[in-house]
Amino acid sequence: MSGGPSGPDQEPATDPKPAMDPSADAGPVIEAEAPQAASPQAAVPPPLPRDPVARFWSVAAVPIAAVVLALLVGSLIILASSFFAVGGFEPLLPVEAYSSLLRGSFGSVNGLVNTVVAATPLVLAGLAVGIGFKAGLFNIGAQGQFLMGALAAAGTGAALAQQPPPIAIGGALLAAAIGGGLWGFIPGALKAWTGAHEVVTTIMLNYIAAAVIGYLITGPLAAPGFSFARTGPVGNAALPIILGRNGHLGILIALLAVPLAYWLLWRSTLGFELRTVGANPNAARYAGMRPGLLTIFTLSLCGLLAGLAGGGQILGTSGFMNASYGTATGFDAIAVALLGRAHPVGILAASLLFGAMRAGSGLMQIEARIPVEIIDVIQAVILLFLAADVIVRRILRLRAARSGVDEIQTVTRSYGEQAAR
């Protein structure tokens, strides 16, 4: 299999990691496995400038431009749909829509808290996808891991509802972490031991998770006395409110996860190995690392994070789970990780952006009569500009800026090699 057309595909030419953090001791080692055959199309990006402002721009210019361009495209869509929304051409409708979106998300204390609460699961699930990217894995299964974490938290929370809060909360969160982690371990183990590609297995596991939830919530976990199938109330396992009206403890967990993820990726040996495997599995194996084990570890960790996101939602906001519990958090997480360029700080920023759009969209629908689904459209357009970053760079005349998604160039390339070891 490795005899295939491999030249430009396997080189870690677009790997920006050593430069991203020059102070890290990881630098020289990765540089040692420098690209062998740089084709003109996949040129090595220039090293990052030392000046912090210039450095920020060279990393963030494309994502920020993508967001701005997507908002512009969104305003065109709103303009075009004004015939349906308000029954006539209304040139100021985009301004009206965006201003109520802003007021809904940042205009009041409640709005701000709503933004943070909406961003919380996105941070954790976004890290679950982003850390996977760093290890060269595309974790489409964040949705399933999120749901399994939610299920575990709902079941355990209901069982521990009468226990003292520390035990109940601790137990339910632990269950969420284990539930999600297990759902990440399965594709990790399958990839490490059999070569089954994680993209397909995690998609399948998303649906299997939905089936498991459908069974458990209508069956063994169903609480008596409700008109529809749902788990019992989580009682003492509910996360305490620490911010405003509905800002729950999950916010703190998400905020803690960001520096932890950063430390893991750039300050620990494990993270170094993880990124090396992501950049070049063969080099990693040659250097004595064990890609299989690292794959299992990474996907389990990703699952754990996504599971915590799901657990936080159940214990912090909804308080129970029903059979059709389905938010698209796991899919938004992919968008967050891509926009945040798989960097913990970027993921935090992207989550806040998407959280703000979610939190403000309700007011926008009421005031400007633009359906909340416009948020999904704008998110998709952002991703489109990130993927087609050539356009963005042409508009900005940014030759030097890095592309939006260059961290993850190795992901799909391995698709054809699955099951062929």
């Binding site: 299999m1 295939g4 057309p5 491999s6 030249g7 430009p8 595909d9 055959a37 084709s39 003109p40 199309q41 869509i77 749909s81 349906f84 595309f138 489409i140 399958l190 059999t194 070569g195 089954a196 590609h197 993209v199 397909v200 297995t201 998609i203 399948m204 596991l205 649906y207 299997i208 089936a211 498991v212 459908g214 069974y215 899919f331 992919i334 968008a335 891509l338 359906p371 689904e373 416009i374 999904d376 459209v377 998110q379 998709a380 991703l383 993927a387 087609a388 050539v390 998604v405 160039q409 992901v411 799909t412 390339r413 391995s414 698709y415 054809g416 090699e417 699955q418 099951a419 062929a420």
Partner: protein, 362 residues
Amino acid sequence: MEQLFQTLYGIPLLGLVFQLGGYLVDRLPSIAPIVLGLAAPIALGALCGVMNERSGVVNIGIEGIMLIAAFVAFVAGAFAADAFPAEGSDVFGVTPALLIGVAAAVISAMLVSLLHAWLSISIRADQIISGTIINIAALGLTGYLNRLIISANPRAGAGTFKSFNPPDALVDLPIIGWVLNMFLDQGPIAMIVIVLVIVLQIMLFRSRWGLRTRAVGEHPKAADTVGIDVIALRYRNVIIGGAFAGLAGAYLTLEATSSFQNGMTSGRGFIALAAVIFGRWTPIGSFGAALMFTAAEALGVAIRFRPPDGDLAALGDVMTAIPNQVYGALPYIITIIILAGVVGRSIPPAAVGQPYYKESRA
């Protein structure tokens, strides 16, 4: 004879297998048309997957393409039904509005596929990310426009194609009667699936285009060396594949139901992906896989309403004890098992997922 079966059914454990066979022979004929109807969109999606992956492009955006096509089919059909009201024809109940809906669905799906082709072939973006973007965009865009257009006109719609009613003489034929009925008691889109499958199977393995497609999917460099235009061929295949996904979308809103709901593809595009893997990247194989997947689902429903009884009571106990969700999740579980190579390996085309650089040194 009766006694023979009773003895067979009585064998511990193995008897259950015989009972399952007996149950299927008894029950399948009556649910077969439903099974094929359920399988039609999945099989069409799988044909799209085969077209893409055989030429070296991963397309996990089938789900999104299907959803957009389903929406466009419904809206175009509804507007056309307003503009040209007409009685349906005797066979299939064809109206101009329905045909316009199908055409619009196919064209829209080809346009979305063009986007995927451009992103993954020309821009060389990550193909899985491109597909993911299409899925997210489809969900958002159709949800948005659904609220804006369809919810405002709740009674709009073009109706549906009607099933063809095969003559009784044909249906009553022994042994093959129910198979004929399965393929004939269908609307036009479901009926055409089997034709497309066979044509594509022959084309892929017996035509010049098929040989070139497979060459490009396995070793694009070699194909390029002998003068095949890799980029053009991939573009063409991705776009034509999109047409199949478009038909699947039209099937959902113009044949299976007469309405559009948000996210109504509900994972069919992903099951199609599974069917491609299970069918080892061949049209016939993935059609079979789609049939098997939906048969499992239909069986799950059938068991709830009429579990095996009498001679088959033992089987009935086992099958009703299995939670209903298991039958629904079977396609996904089977796909993972297949991918893991527990029951035979399924090896994808070698160059799948790798963008092609014409001038690179490789």
